[in-house]
Symmetry: C2
Subunit: 142 residues, 2 copies
Amino acid sequence: MSSTSADQTGKQQEDTALSDLLRRGELFNQNCPSREILKHLTSRWGVLVLIALLERDHRFSELRRTVGGVSEKMLAQTLQTLEADGFVSRFSHPVVPPHVDYSLTPIGREVAEKVRDFADWIELNTSRILSAKPKGRVAAAR
Amino acid sequence: MSSTSADQTGKQQEDTALSDLLRRGELFNQNCPSREILKHLTSRWGVLVLIALLERDHRFSELRRTVGGVSEKMLAQTLQTLEADGFVSRFSHPVVPPHVDYSLTPIGREVAEKVRDFADWIELNTSRILSAKPKGRVAAAR
DNA sequence: CTGTATCCTCTTAGATACTG
DNA sequence: CAGTATCTAAGAGGATACAG
């Protein structure tokens, strides 16, 4: 519901190490709005959409093809969330059949570069990670 | 831990053109194991656990207190997944009452630094993001 | 083409109770 | 203290149909 205001003034049960909270407490506090931003940005399809849009602008069906495995519903939902957060711009060309282009806003490009940097690390290190897995232990196979 | 000293030569992702898709198509393929790694690392609690462990080693109950809002079950599950991936080490002191310490492996520290970098960006920019939200449009409010 | 609406299934996550 | 087991609710996600 993305409420504005309506602060919970007396609701402060963060009683962890105070220095930690001062230094970087926002994300460790479950009431902080940054938690929601984090959730959107690290969502299953959000990450891939941001990276795809960093390469170039895409229209809806292009994104569907580029991002393997995403359904129409989840792609639309992901794009709406990212647009609502101000990371993605949506341009609907007034033609028929419809033609909609998605692109990154300046702040969206900023964060997408962070995401891509992170994704690049994963791709470069996946084989290293897989071969370094503890073998005696049965992975929860998530 | 001795890295396998594999192929990675450092940084080579300066280009973002079409050749990128060939080089970094892994994540866009739903059958790629890197998708699973990504999922674990970007999981709701995985991100926060990695950042907490980057500050210092924690025992179980310390993590519970530091990471606001996490349940015992989810913390245990998250830690097991991260341990199975080789990002986290678990050391159980043979004492009573039990005392278990969690720490990052070398590769875990590497990725945790990426995660922290990303989280830092979010914390620094949350207010900017919130104030820049498109207001005319009703966010889907998830 | 670009979605929305509905239905359905599977996973995630919290609460609670219990064990070593 | 450090978990596990069980139950349940909420949300993610997919398939299909349909609308603008």
